[in-house]
């Protein structure tokens, strides 16, 4: 299909919805920003979209824990429709706070089954950065799987992160092994040459350097860094140093892959 439609979910405290809408449109989708109250009023509206994005921000102030209140709201009001959305082969992307919501609803890594939302089965979480503070800095991301539709398996990305609770931890070594072995790790933090390292290369102390997770379908992904903040060259921190600036806006990879996937499969 040519007319790819994306819905960007807003809620109190969400603040990256405009730039996420813009990035999706640059990639060729038609994007609508929608308040969660409207979706709860009329869940069936999701039928008209192929891509759902939980954007970044501080939903409900990140009170209690990042993304927790919104996750609670999503599970209590939208579990069924989201399950159907994912079963229908559609795409779900969570960025930063959106990833926090996706992990706390269980959408990623989806160990309870793809698209099964739950507040009680959570085995992986995002918690306080090791450095104890919110950090805004740029990070290199190495793809960890070839079965996630949002990424190019051989393309390392350079993107900004901006969060205080982005450290991935699993409840056990078994869970961590399961995530790794099933190819649920979408991106890991590395340096410019692809090597692992401590802070600031791994900016939050995530286990196994994990920056992004997908599920068993490869069509849902949550990531801490912000691809929507690197969709044109003047957003790149080295742009004034580079004479050849074409193609440095790595964030477009994520959105273009999503839109192209829908074009090819719907």
């Amino acid at each position: 299909m040519d007319n790819v439609k994306a819905i960007v979910l807003r809620a109190a405290g969400i603040n990256c919805d405009l730039e996420t809408e813009h990035a999706l449109e640059l990639a060729g989708a038609t994007a609508d920003r929608m308040h969660i109250n409207r979706v709860i009023d009329n869940p069936a509206m999701l039928d008209g979209y192929q891509i759902l994005v939980f954007p970044g921000g501080f939903s409900y102030g990140d009170d209690v824990a990042a993304g927790k209140i919104l996750a609670n709201q999503v599970v209590h009001h939208l579990s069924e429709i989201l399950h159907k959305f994912i079963e229908d082969g559609k795409l779900v992307l969570g960025i930063c706070n959106g990833f926090q919501v996706m992990i706390k609803t269980g959408i990623v890594p989806g160990l309870g089954g793809a698209g099964k939302l739950s507040l009680t089965d959570q085995k992986v979480t995002l918690t306080d950065n090791d450095c104890g503070q919110f950090q805004d800095r740029w990070v290199y991301l190495q793809p960890g799987t070839d079965r996630c539709v949002f990424l190019d398996a051989d393309k390392r990305l350079y993107l900004p992160m901006a969060h205080g609770e982005g450290k991935i931890v699993a409840d056990s070594e078994d869970t961590l092994a399961q995530i790794k072995n099933h190819g649920f790790v979408a991106f890991r933090y590395v340096d410019a040459d692809g090597n692992y390292g401590e802070f600031p290369i791994n900016p939050n102390g995530s286990q196994d350097h994990i920056a992004a997770l997908t599920d068993s379908t490869g069509r849902a992904m949550g990531m801490m860094p912000h691809p929507e903040r690197c969709v044109r060259w003047t957003q790149h921190p080295h742009w004034t140093r580079l004479k050849d600036r074409e193609g440095i806006a790595d964030g477009m990879t994520i959105f273009t892959n999503a839109v192209n996937y829908v074009k090819e499969n719907f």
Partner: protein, 961 residues
């Protein structure tokens, strides 16, 4: 109702970040007895659900299943070999608790509807042999703030009740007509009005004329409206100035200096200046930008976190309340503190340690700004021990507004609607409090002046107001800031008259009197004027996103302010008297040129140590620890970020954003401030600030022909003739600078009386502090440049003349001197240089450009080199220097204004030189391979020879917390 208590702690094996942080802070207090700190979160919920549901709440909502444990009830002291001390910190009753509101709505999502109250608290378990004194000190100095929080110790103590007493209305009249002068002043003091005798007499005369006594709410309204904070009495007064024996007279100081420059310049791109909540200038054919910077000093001294958070929250509401409402697109924050490594015993009673102030202020701005989703792109930190008791917190915001929405038009018959947060007892008397000086007793007396913010309420208010603006559903808007509703509604109704029914104002809790409702400075509130026929439509927008909006009154047309409570009239004031009745002041000012001399410092073979010391001085050192905590990239508009360069850690001169996704036009922001020069002469200090702010903008590519500036004065007690004399000098410089650069002032604010009286009677006054904030336009952001050196083989030029001007410099400072030769500005040459530099950048001739200011040439070269990861070989023979600038130290470290360092590719030399014709410029070096900065003096002796890694380390270390 059942009382449920939930304790949430980190699971064994998971890092307790907050506990770790607290332990570090305890170590800073030199308390060694605490071995470890466990931090927990406590939720107190009054609701009628059962045990099973409570367990669900704990598992599904309040704890993280992976990394947290929960406990239902009150847990015992942890077992183990080490003694444990329990401390719980609760909010005082009535203090806003944002988490509680979110938890309530989440409980509703879970199906629990009958929830009476939710409160949160923090619990700390200190492990180790902690004495009672140490425990109290830790609680007071680190864990809790007396202004807003109660501390309870041990397992038996009960938290403060969440419930407040209901209010029984009694109409209070204050007899004033027959009071003596002494009694009038007593009344002003007892009511915290901060009005002087002349003002009290004016009020007395008015009521004698009216033949009645005022009500309490009338007096409070007058005190708010006439406060220094709201009307800027000092800057508007007439001044007799004695400058070294020469008399100068101003009928109205600000009108004849700052306002006059704007008027005389009469730039057609200025849309609204000094009228609205922010100054407005053209951006492009469709949009304008507005800019406002405010201070929030006194509240930040008492509660650094809350004070700074509401400082940024408040200034964001200024663009939101400008014209018909702008969309905030960038924040700027400038702070002044005492040295953060000051010894504990040097801190007087009633004053918080500067490190705690700094950490709290940064965290407050971080948490509010980040949650609002507005990038904090610009800022500065300045350290001087005279800011110990009066830290300065400047918060600014830039907004984008459609050209046709730049003006408001409230009409008689419009409804007064308050939107956003509820009103509570927080922030009572903020406006009057911030107009006075501080004493060691302020901590106790003015705790109620501290406001607590809830950024998410402000964000949802903003989201919905922009929709309502675009649907044209209201006629006017303003923010509730200092003075609360009394100022907001009073100002909006100034030309019309307004009636308000105070009981309709939604409250956070019961118990507020009609006066408290009227003057509360509770945050996150906006006031709009709505035509009755638009009410339903606008309410639908607010309801759709859970934003509270309430009609509280009507604009009338009778030019009176009428206040009612449940049908009873509690106050009525004539708008003319309220807004025009304030008396005018005549003041005396005096300035004597200081008799200072230049020190004689011995010549040295190497200035490496001086350079390292300057780079490592707090004012010059890297501010990365602060910058990284701010989200400076949200909204996806950043072009020049605060830190860029090879390793993303070079200090940029100004920030640029590209606020519209489909246009390459940019907005640049910068600031200039140097209180140290003010110790020699505030005139040159102010000019240096203007020159620096404009220069910073030019460095990144902004057009100096279209720059607007804001003034923020923070001064001491201006009833002192010398202090006022310094203010006059600075204002004269503002006029001269604005005229010379063609740069109008578009908005400003002053905060006076920044003095502190210690319990032993010693008085600490801040240095004269004038912050100049500049905003400029960049025609095409793709042409912006940064300051990091780019490529070996490129040439480095110095543009602008270096003079023998080490007075007030960092070089003198690290050598314990002040000096006399303060940098002066040749405004005409400065403006011409800025213009040429812009032409060169616009022509694409410049690879990098850096402002040469604090720390002089050597510091600027070092920063360019380590930011770019490129070596630089410099040679002072090529430096364009004045005849009196012969000593190497002056060439290296003089802080002469209007200078730029520029990197040019060799093939562009001719074109660049042509543009610089008749402007002082010369080649001072070359970018080279390798990892060193070397500088040779005019005799070809190498006077600086340092590894970039060593320079960068010295620069990064001091504030790398």
């Amino acid at each position: 109702m059942k009382q449920w208590r939930f304790e949430i702690s980190s699971k064994q094996g998971f890092l307790d970040v907050h506990g770790k942080d607290t332990l570090e802070d305890i170590r800073q207090l030199n308390i060694e007895s605490v071995e470890d700190v466990i931090s927990e979160r406590v939720f107190l919920i009054e609701a009628d659900f059962e045990q099973e549901f409570a367990e669900r709440v704990a598992v599904e909502l309040l704890s993280d299943p992976v990394c947290q444990d929960y406990y239902l009830g009150k847990s015992d002291v942890p077992a183990g070999p080490m003694p444990a001390t329990l401390i719980e910190v609760h909010l005082k009753s009535g203090v806003t608790d944002p988490v509680a509101e979110s938890v309530k709505s989440a409980l509703a999502d879970m199906g629990a509807t009958a929830v009476d109250s939710v409160r949160t608290a923090r619990k700390y378990v200190l492990l180790g042999n902690v004495s009672d004194d140490e425990r109290d000190m830790i609680a007071r100095r680190i864990l809790a703030n007396d202004c807003i929080e109660d501390v309870i110790f041990g397992t038996d103590a009960e938290p403060p009740s969440p419930h407040t007493e209901p209010y029984q209305m009694t109409l209070t009249e204050i007899p004033i007509r027959s009071l003596s002068d002494d009694q009038l002043m007593g009344l002003s003091k007892d009511m915290d009005m901060f009005l002087n005798l002349k003002e009290m007499q004016t009020i007395q005369a008015e009521y004698q004329k009216l033949d009645r006594e005022p009500t309490d709410v009338e007096l409070e309204t007058l005190a708010q409206t006439w406060s220094e904070h709201c009307v800027h009495k000092t800057l508007k007064s007439s001044v007799d100035m004695d400058h070294d024996g020469e008399k100068v007279y101003f009928d109205n100081l600000i009108k004849e200096t700052i306002f006059k420059a704007t008027k005389d310049l009469n730039k057609d791109w200025c849309i609204s200046v000094f009228e609205d909540n922010a100054g407005v200038i053209e951006f492009d054919d469709e949009h304008a930008v507005c800019f406002k910077v405010e201070t929030h000093n006194h509240p930040s001294a008492l509660d650094p976190y809350g004070g700074a958070a509401t400082g940024i929250g408040g200034v964001i509401r200024d663009p939101m309340g400008t014209g018909m409402g702008a969309k905030p697109v960038a924040n700027t924050d400038i702070f002044c503190f005492a040295r953060p490594d000051m010894k504990l015993e040097e801190v007087p009673k009633g004053v918080l340690h500067p490190r705690r102030v700094m950490k709290g202020v940064v965290a407050g701005v971080r948490d509010y700004g980040n949650r609002m989703g507005i990038p904090t792109v610009n800022g500065a930190l300045y350290f001087d021990d005279r800011y110990l008791a009066n830290p300065l917190v400047f918060c600014g915001n830039v907004g984008l507004i459609p050209r046709e929405k730049c003006f408001k038009n409230a009409q008689a018959g419009n409804l007064v609607v308050v939107v956003g947060g509820r009103t509570g007892r927080d922030g009572i008397h903020g406006a009057t409090f911030s107009s006075g000086e501080m004493t060691h007793e302020h901590e106790d007396i003015f705790s109620h002046a501290v406001q607590i913010g809830n950024p998410i309420v402000e964000k949802t208010t903003l989201d919905t107001l922009l929709q309502a603006r675009d649907a044209e559903l209201y006629e006017a808007i303003t923010d509730c800031g200092a003075g609360g509703l009394s100022s907001a509604v009073g100002e909006m109704g100034e030309k019309l008259g307004v009636e308000v029914d105070l009981e309709k104002v939604p409250l956070k809790y019961a118990g507020l009197s009609y006066t408290e409702i009227w003057i509360s400075e509770a945050q996150e509130r906006m006031v709009i004027a709505v035509k009755p026929e638009n009410l339903d439509a606008i309410m639908e927008i607010f309801n759709a996103e859970d934003v509270e909006a309430t009609v509280i009154g009507t604009f009338t047309g009778d030019k009176k302010l009428t206040l009612r409570y449940k049908g009873t009239q509690v106050g009525q004031l004539d708008m003319d008297f309220l807004h025009e009745g304030i008396c005018k002041y005549d003041r005396e000012a005096k300035w004597e040129t200081k008799k200072l001399s230049e020190p004689v410092l011995a010549d040295k073979d190497s200035y490496n140590d001086d350079l390292l010391k300057i780079l490592g001085s707090y004012n010059v050192a890297s501010k990365e620890w602060v910058i990284r905590q701010y989200d400076h990239e949200v909204q996806g508009a950043s072009v020049i970020k605060p830190l860029m360069g090879k390793d993303n850690d070079g200090p940029m001169d100004a920030s640029v954003i590209r606020p519209k996704y489909d246009h390459d036009k940019g907005v640049a922001m910068s600031c200039g401030m140097n209180p140290c020069y003010g110790d020699i002469d505030p005139y040159w200090m102010a000019l240096a600030g203007i020159d620096e702010a404009i220069r910073n903008l030019v460095c990144v590519g902004a057009d100096p022909e279209k720059v607007a500036v804001l003034d923020n004065y923070c001064w001491g007690d201006c009833t002192n003739a010398e202090t006022l004399g310094a203010l006059v000098r600075a204002s004269q410089a503002c006029y001269d600078g604005a005229m010379g650069f063609g740069t109008p002032f578009i908005s400003g604010k002053d905060s006076l009386n920044n003095e502190f009286v210690c319990d032993d009677g010693t008085r600490i006054a801040i240095p004269y502090t004038l912050l100049i904030s500049a905003i400029g336009l960049v025609e095409d952001v793709n042409k912006c440049v940064t300051m990091d050196a780019k490529q070996a083989g490129n040439l480095i030029f110095a543009v602008g003349q270096t003079k023998n001007e080490l007075g007030g410099s960092h070089y003198y400072k690290v050598n314990g001197e002040l000096g006399a030769n303060v940098p002066q500005t040749d405004i005409k040459l400065a403006a011409e240089t800025a213009k040429r530099m812009h032409q060169a950048i616009n022509a694409g001739l410049v690879r990098s450009c850096h402002d040469c200011s604090e720390g002089g040439l050597a510091t600027a070269l070092a920063e360019m080199a380590f930011a770019g990861g490129c070596g630089i070989e410099a040679d002072l023979r090529g430096l364009p220097a004045a005849d009196d600038c012969v000593k190497t130290e002056a060439m290296l470290f003089s802080e002469s204004n209007s200078r730029y360092l520029v990197e040019i590719e060799p093939q562009n030399y001719d074109a660049f030189a042509k543009l610089m014709l008749n402007v002082p410029f010369g080649q001072v070096g070359e970018v080279v391979e390798g990892t060193k900065l070397t500088i040779s003096d005019v005799n070809q002796n190498v006077v600086i020879d340092a590894e970039l890694s060593e320079l960068k380390k010295a620069w990064q270390e001091p504030l790398d917390w």
